[in-house]
Symmetry: C2
Subunit: 124 residues, 2 copies
């Protein structure tokens, strides 16, 4: 049902300066989002791949965080300097940039094998 062939969410969430988690805004999230959008346009991918600013992706310690759907590839500690490689190698070439990939053990969220998504009956 999608028209975007890939949908890339970049965290630009802002937390208070004294928040121990830090935030992607303070680590350059907006610059990464702008650079990604610009690069996609240069590659003729406007409206084919969308660079989408997102609020908190819940991986604050790994920021700047990006997630690419539909494949659900997560990247952490992304800088503007990584954008060309992400677009050329992954978005265009189909091969994730392994050095930036966040493995499952570094992601928040409950391991799918330990969590039952489907609960057939509503809560009492």
């Amino acid at each position: 049902m999608a028209k975007f062939q890939k949908h890339v969410f970049i965290c630009v969430n802002e937390r208070d300066a004294d928040d121990p988690k830090g935030c992607c805004a303070s680590k350059g999230g907006k610059d990464v989002a702008s650079a990604l959008k610009q690069k996609l346009h240069e590659r003729g991918l406007k409206r084919i791949v969308r660079a989408n600013k997102a609020l908190c992706l819940d991986q604050c310690a790994q920021g700047v965080t990006i997630v690419v759907y539909p494949e659900a590839t997560w990247y952490g500690h992304v800088t503007v300097d990584d954008v060309d490689e992400i677009v050329e190698q992954h978005i265009v070439g189909g091969k994730p940039v392994e050095r930036l990939v966040l493995p499952p053990e570094k992601l928040t969220g409950i391991d799918p094998e330990r969590a039952a998504l489907v609960r057939k009956s509503p809560p009492a």
Copy 2:
């Protein structure tokens, strides 16, 4: 590579009041996001399914807009009253809520059949 079994993005983007496109914030995007988050927590799905605020999803005329990944199901004109049905029927039950689904012809983006995502050589 994902831990979230589903990742639901809700547009909360704000445009100027005189913008002819309108915006999801003015149509209740933040309330929809809060209701969805609350409902997921009540159903025991915290950190299994993430309700994530997003900036512009590029479907302003259809707001409040939501997209559910990894399946890439798009919903439009969503209100707080629709949240229970989306969670119970789609997120838990696996069946999209057809009356809210945005079909491809209503989505911005270029039809995948008309767009070549992969361009092997960089632009000259």
